[in-house]
Amino acid sequence: MNGLIRYLQRNLSLVAGSALLLFLLAFIVIGHMVVDVEDARALSVRPLQPPSAQYPFGTDRQGRDLLAVMVAGTPLTLRIGFIAGFLGVGIGTALAFVAAYYRGWADTIIRGIADIGLTVPGLLVLIIIAVGIPGGLSVNQMALVVASLAWLNPTRTIRAQVLSLRERGYVEIARMSGMSGPAIIFFELMPNLLPYLAATLVNAVSGAILASIGLEVLGLGPIDAPTLGMTLYWVNFNAAMINGWWWWWLAPTAIIVIVFLGLFFVTVGLDEVANPRLRKSV
């Protein structure tokens, strides 16, 4: 326990990032208990009220209680990010291991697809997919759309890590002790990759949230969902900035900043865990 505390003292990034994310979590949980999330729907309350005791975040033009919107929408946005991020890294890891450990034509094919995919502008592809689905997207469909591209970068970077790990002495010893290929991947390589995978995962979640917010701001997201991106879409649609309804864009912006700062600090903190050479000394 002492060791953990001392480590956290050194790794302030991890502490800061986790604190921010925990704060958000608290916000969501406590928010659900305190606020009536039905008020996140349109036409629930008096529109265009600046922040007050009754409506701490104010209300928007369509009569939504913005505090309720934030409380209901933040988990949705995060959910998209987590589903897409996990899917992307999960697929990417599997492909990376196969490509890097077995080499040969498997490696060539996987690497080829990933390389081509990475050169195509991701947002463009996402827009085309989103537009192509008739009837608008649900939150889960949104996650799948973003996931479809989220695996490309993890595949490449994890493959590079596995390539270097597979030359290690302990892999050769494992082979000489009679271990099969898949066993080596799972028991020898994977555990040493965990810190790196964690860092990649957080990165992927960040990227997925960003992509989803991007799509939503363009109006391609789930129209009825009170997600952060959709809120910003309505902010644009209604020219909230020009009209001086500052509380409308401030709330989602602030929350987005907290999300990204939290994820960023956690990534930096995990980088240090994954790469011992970055470790600072006390």
Binding site: G3, R6, S281, V282
Partner: protein, 317 residues
């Protein structure tokens, strides 16, 4: 004998979660002008840390907690950051362990020498610089064309000589060579050590050779210091150490060298070197010492002069 380098009471500690670890514990010695001093010890003995400490190149979590180092009468601890920087290479030069990996892989050899000159404010005209480079390379037994080569185009022995050339380019008073030949084959090692000896004679500087090969020490150095668990446990002329080692560890170290005389005579030292953070009480060597008695377990032996010019840290020396 005039001492060109004096180390007094040097103590280097590393901060560790469970307390400070003494990597170098109260080491004192003097290096005479033109002398070859060996510093022998195994891993964890503190010899490499000491070399870095003399050059004030200890990085956190290590720090120099006590002691004085003076070069030719000048106190090094009084120098500020910039003063120390100027002293490195120009006053005391180092040929580090793994020298071959210390050469910048994307710079030609002469560019690396140019760096050395420029960093120490030596401005030479192009012609003078070329001449100086050629002379330096000749001094270390390299052909002048080597100046235009990249490190990867040189063999291991040639890279080592290039490192020696960089170390002597500003005519230092002391050269510290930390295991300069450990990665080299025995035939090439001999050539490189011959080069080092000649260079030292020509420059008139002193050399500290850090290593663990007692055969190499026997053939190269004038005096030898033996380090164990951060302390200098013996210091004497090399002839004395070979014929009559005073400290049991020195005796054991010499005996553990495999001989080419009779087979099956290889001996080791039983037990393990102690962890620096868990030093045994009394003499650090007593768990492995064939002569250990109760006194050794209780009382840490001080470094005493046991004969003129010979010091040892043992109750029975």
């Amino acid at each position: 004998m005039n001492a060109i380098l004096k180390v007094e009471g040097l103590r280097v500690e590393f901060d560790h979660a469970l307390g400070a670890v003494k990597a170098v514990d109260d080491v004192s010695f003097a290096l005479n002008a033109g002398e070859r001093l060996g510093l022998a010890g195994e891993s964890g003995s503190g010899k490499s840390t000491m070399a870095l400490a003399i050059l004030r190149m200890i990085k956190p979590p290590g720090r120099i907690v006590a002691g004085r180092v003076s070069l030719d009468g000048e106190e090094l601890s009084a120098l500020d950051h910039e003063g120390m920087r100027r002293l490195r290479l120009a006053g005391i030069a180092m040929v580090p362990q793994g020298s071959m990996n210390s050469l910048n892989p994307v710079m030609r050899i002469k560019a690396q020498l140019a760096d050395a000159f420029r960093d120490h404010g030596v401005h030479l005209s192009n012609a003078a610089f070329e001449a100086r480079v050629a002379e330096l390379l000749r001094t270390v037994g390299l052909r002048p064309e080597v100046a235009t080569l990249y490190p990867h185009e040189l063999s291991g022995g040639m890279k080592q000589r290039a490192c020696i050339a960089i170390a002597i380019c500003l005519r230092p008073k002391v050269i510290i060579a930390d295991e300069p030949t450990s990665a080299l084959d025995v035939v090439v090692q001999r050539h490189v050590m011959e080069t080092l000896a000649r260079v030292q004679r020509d420059l008139g500087c002193a050399i500290i050779l850090v290593g663990h090969d007692m055969g190499l020490m026997a053939q190269f150095v004038d005096r030898l210091g033996v380090m164990y668990a951060g302390r200098l446990v013996e210091l004497a002329p090399i002839g004395e150490i070979i014929t009559r080692p005073r400290h049991p560890y020195t005796q054991a170290l010499i005996s553990s060298l495999p001989s080419l005389e009779a087979r099956g005579t290889m001996q080791g030292i039983p037990g393990l070197a102690p962890l620096l953070r868990e030093l045994p009480p009394g003499c650090a060597f007593h768990p492995r010492c064939p002569r250990a008695e109760d006194r050794c377990r209780a009382e840490k032996p001080a470094v005493r002069e046991v004969a003129p010019g010979q010091r040892a840290a043992c109750h029975f020396a």
